[in-house]
């Protein structure tokens, strides 16, 4: 567990964040604190400038002359979209800055009257096209609504995890990387409740056809829990949804889409949990 921190300690966390050296608990503590701290917000900007200065201290080399053309050709070949692509099954971890929805188009002052539109739509040759357009718009609308819904769900999960960290009764147990995954994670939970989450840093994006699955182990065996995809950005936060105070260990594995109900697949992170008292 982490006690109260003074401001110098938050500054240390900011410096760690600047070089991506925070564990999941530190990320959550810093996020919860910084929202209301002008000094930390200013220090964040200062450290951004420090890293830019360091980057510019690298010996400057001329980039190959053809590189810009190569980049622009690649960009031209790729349809541009201004909306971040959601994870395949809509259960992503933490997205980066959400992209605001596209503004609605203002109604033209000299648009056809309602009667004009309906009479136009009644023409047989346009009716089919209009129906198709309606389907496309409906699908696009559902997609956008789905993204907003996913974002709200993600924020709720984050808020719930942070609330646990703010509770002095919480338990935090580290989960160590397995097989060189490079990820580090922490299981945080309130004993004798199902309020339990994993918070992981450095987790790779979910490979195609795979999902991350949470597991908890107790004397009765290893229990498969939720499956999630993750885009690799930020901190992965997901609920265990079980009382971890009765569990002996927790882990994240990589499984085929749909998850596993039997033998766990390759472990990404694993950790023993402290015995409950």
């Amino acid at each position: 567990m982490i006690g109260e921190m003074d401001h110098d300690e938050y500054l240390q966390l900011l410096a760690g964040e600047a070089l991506d050296d925070l564990d999941a608990v530190e990320v959550a503590r810093l996020s919860a604190h910084r929202d209301g701290c002008a000094a930390c917000a200013a220090a964040t900007m200062d450290l951004d400038g420090t890293l830019v200065a360091l980057a510019l201290a690298a010996p400057q080399r001329a980039a190959p002359g053809a590189l810009e053309a190569r980049i622009l050709a690649a960009a031209a070949a790729e349809p541009h979209t201004s909306v971040a692509k959601p994870a395949a099954d809509g259960r992503a971890g933490v997205p980066a800055t959400p992209t605001p929805p596209a503004p609605t188009l203002p109604r033209s002052a000299d648009a056809p009257s309602r009667g004009g539109w309906t009479s136009w739509l009644r023409r047989p040759q346009f009716a089919l096209a209009a129906a198709g357009l309606a389907v496309v718009l409906a699908v696009a609308s559902l997609s956008l609504a789905s993204q907003v819904s996913d974002l709200n769900a993600t924020l709720k999960v984050q808020d719930a995890a942070i609330a646990i960290l703010a509770n002095p009764s919480h338990v935090a147990a580290p989960l160590a990387p397995e097989d060189g995954s490079g990820a580090t994670a922490t299981a945080v939970y309130l004993p004798d409740s199902t309020q339990s989450f994993v918070m992981a840093s450095g987790l790779a994006p979910t490979p195609a056809g795979k999902v991350y699955q949470l597991w908890a182990a107790d004397a009765a065996g290893v229990h498969p829990l939720g499956t999630y995809t993750f885009d690799g950005n930020g901190t992965f936060v997901a609920p265990f949804g079980v009382d971890l105070s009765t569990a002996a260990a927790a882990m994240i594995t990589l499984e085929p889409t749909g998850g596993s109900t039997g033998e766990p697949g390759p472990q990404v992170v694993f950790g023993n949990l402290p015995a409950s008292t």
């Binding site: 500054l11 240390q12 410096a15 760690g16 600047a18 070089l19 991506d20 050296d21 917000a41 220090a43 964040t44 900007m45 200062d46 450290l47 951004d48 400038g49 420090t50 890293l51 830019v52 200065a53 360091l54 980057a55 510019l56 201290a57 690298a58 010996p59 400057q60 080399r61 001329a62 980039a63 190959p64 590189l67 810009e68 190569r70 980049i71 622009l72 690649a74 960009a75 031209a76 790729e78 541009h80 979209t81 201004s82 909306v83 971040a84 692509k85 980066a96 800055t97 992209t99 605001p100 490079g182 950005n233």
Partner: protein, 221 residues
């Protein structure tokens, strides 16, 4: 051990150099001001909206420095090219992810380049055993004389500030930033506990921020 050779000061910038002047679309000729940053934020906004010319303008500003940083970390020209392309494609795909409350456009771009460079090192089997004797010898760089001068001034200030750090902090910061090492790897490389490595890196970075003072503000604003 991985101390970076900082003896190659900016004085070398002007030696034995044949420079062909070229006029970039939006050359970086002076310390970034609030106005400069606003321009860069606006460029990202145009990229977000699908304006390829804004991507070209961003390249004119940052292509060389991003390539230089990537090369410094991965030490391979072809890989550095690929990384710069990945950075700009990431910007093209998701410029809307830039959050001006968390940093500058420059900071975001350099962060992307550093992450992608480190990711590449992680994918290489030799990453953990590779040399981290980073060579900072200056080479012919920017084709724009004024841009090169500006970068030289910036670099000089930063190198002097780095030199003012306690040696242990400086070494740890350099290994983490330019060497592309994780903090665990820094600890292993220096033969010190992980907690000590973290403290050296974090304290060193904060001290560097203080030493850079106003010049950091110029970059950050």
């Amino acid at each position: 051990m991985g101390m970076i050779d900082l003896t190659a000061g900016v004085g070398n910038v002007w030696q034995n150099r044949t420079v062909t002047r070229q006029e970039p679309t939006l050359p970086v000729r002076e310390p970034p001001s609030a106005e400069q940053r606003a321009i860069e934020v606006a460029l990202l906004g145009r990229v977000r909206d699908g304006d390829a010319s804004a991507l070209s303008d961003l390249y004119a500003r940052f292509g060389g420095p991003l390539y230089s940083l990537a090369y410094q970390i991965v030490r391979d020209a072809g890989a550095a090219e690929d990384i710069v392309q990945e950075v700009f494609m990431a910007v093209w795909r998701s410029a809307g992810r830039f959050d001006p409350t968390k940093g500058s456009p420059a900071g975001w771009l350099f962060s992307l380049a550093r992450h992608k460079s480190i990711d590449l090192l992680r994918r290489e089997t030799t990453a953990r055993s590779r040399s981290v004797d980073v060579d900072l010898t200056l080479e012919p760089a920017a084709e724009d004389v004024e841009q090169e001068a500006w970068l030289g001034i910036r670099r000089d200030r930063t190198l002097h500030s780095l030199e003012a750090l306690p040696a242990a902090q400086r070494e740890a910061v350099e290994l983490a930033f330019f060497g592309g090492l994780t903090h665990v790897e820094v600890a292993e490389r220096l033969g010190i506990p992980l907690g000590t490595a973290k403290t050296r890196i974090r304290t060193g970075l904060l001290r560097l921020r203080d030493l850079l003072g106003d010049s950091v503000s110029e970059v950050a604003t």
